[in-house]
Amino acid sequence: MKQLPTFVFVVLLVLPWLLPAYAVQVAIQALVLAGFAMSFNFLFQNTGLLSFGHAAFFGAGAYTAALLMSKAGWGYLAALPVALAASALVALVIGFLSVRLTKIYFTMLTLAFAQMLWAVAHRWYNFTGGDNGITGVRPAGILGTAHGLYYLSLACLVAVSLVLSLVSRSPAGYTLRAVRDNPARVAAIGVSSFEYVLAAFVLSGMLSGLSGFLQLAWQRSAFPDLLFWTTSAQVIIASILGGSGRFYGPVVGAAVLVSAQAVVQSHTQYWPLALGLVLLALVLFFPAGVAGLFSRAERRREEESERAAA
């Protein structure tokens, strides 16, 4: 099982050469959502804080790059550092005001901030184009092709998972889980939890901005719905679907969600209904998510082999 991520990575490397053009587009969507959901789940899993406003950082990344490209004539990759900085800054401001709150208050406040940003993007016609969005932004050269964007998205997903796994296993990552487990005890080992949780929030927001930046190249446009609460809901659903207690759970969830949507939508327009039924079944029967199913099967195999050995 330990080699599984490596195996999946190798499959993903050759995948675009095996798939039809339409499926490559779906695969890019899955990679982008996977990175976004991982960034969201990093915060949720380690700190226990459920953000319902991650669309703010996703949208900030996309809009920053879109504005730089359309208004200032910047190249796509040149806009990347600024897009990441903008997402991090938005996360710093929202995080500073909200990470001290707990549970439902944190969730509602992050939702409120993201909806405020959505309202601004939706109304400010002179700058963001309002609900007409910003269209015709296309990366030049190879990144403008499906294969180019696929490999860029794959590289970003690998980078995001490396960064997040590094941080999770570091003393700082342990400190975050300590804050989640027992905030009073954290103060009593001489650590102020606020700065750690805020730093995790900013990291999560910045990496979500990276996904927004990729999304921009995929849809070649930026619309206010990137900032809408349904975008925030998508990463929550992907994480729960895949299993938010596992590091790669959100990746599994994103892949399942995006492929299911593509299949269902090619047959019927009732995707939200199908999604609702899937979620209902999931929460009722498989609370640990799809990734939880794998580890359950694995545990059963281990138990059987132990029994066979005994």
Partner: protein, 251 residues
């Protein structure tokens, strides 16, 4: 002249009009094992939390080694040389016993900020944590997740975490509460020797009269938010009003 290690000067604290503490003073000498006793509602926990920096007093002052601690938050107080173990000892249940302790060792040096090297690769901290776990006799449990441990062992992990900060003063809030008789005997058995060896002063609150008499070399009795008596165990035992308050009855 010996300056006391910890000095609490005339602190008062009210909650919504209820006077939990009225001008309480207390001083703990270096090397002492000082107990804080009294019936429920006497203000033991309030005083404990006040010294820990969880509450700020309405009036009065707390000083440690001559330094004013009164308005410092808990996480700063730890770095002054005070270790704390709260009443409900649930360290960090999702981590192993060793990870719990390593984290506390790293926190002392401000190394918890590091987001890159793995926790387990901080060799010096791991070695030190293993040493501390051996002191409290729990090193064989080091790879077990904390949530699997029984109360008595959890308490020992919590004390190990408190000792990881190399404190001069250890604060324990009802260390024996929720422990079985055997676990109590064990803790009362090893703690004094360990603290003497490390040169750590102890201030603790406790309900168990017998254990207090065995552990403490000086006792402060609180009653209705005020100091009723202070002295050596023998003196306190002979003080009849104290004996009654101590047992929780009205004098």
């Amino acid at each position: 002249m010996n300056v006391p290690l910890l000095e609490v000067e005339r602190v008062s604290k009210s909650f919504d009009g209820f006077r939990a503490l009225t001008e309480v003073s207390l001083s703990v000498a270096e090397g002492a094992f000082h107990a804080l006793v009294g019936p429920n509602g006497a203000g033991k926990s309030t005083l404990f939390n006040l010294i820990c920096g969880r509450y700020a007093p309405d009036a009065g002052r707390v000083a440690f080694r001559g330094r004013d601690l009164t308005r410092l938050p808990t996480h700063r107080i730890i770095h002054q040389g005070i270790g704390i173990s709260f009443q409900r000892a649930i360290p960090f249940p999702s981590m192993t016993v060793l990870e719990n302790t390593v984290l506390a060792v790293l926190a002392l040096d401000g190394k918890t900020r590091r987001p890159w090297r793995r926790l387990h690769e901080h060799r010096d901290a791991v070695r030190r944590a293993e040493e501390i776990l051996a002191w409290v006799g729990i090193e064989r449990r080091r790879h077990q997740p904390a949530f699997e441990l029984p109360q008595g062992e959890l308490k020992r992990v919590d004390i190990a975490i408190a000792l990881a900060g190399k404190p001069r003063l250890l604060l324990l809030d009802e260390p024996l509460a929720a422990l079985s008789r055997i676990e109590r005997a064990h803790l009362v058995g090893f703690l004094p020797g360990l603290l003497r060896q490390l040169g750590v002063t102890l201030l603790f609150t406790e309900h168990d009269t017998e254990a207090v008499m065995r552990l403490a070399d000086s006792i402060t009795v609180l009653h209705r938010g005020q100091v009723l008596a202070e002295g050596a165990p023998d003196y306190i035992r002979s003080h009849s009003a104290v004996a009654e308050a101590f047992l929780g009855r009205e004098p």
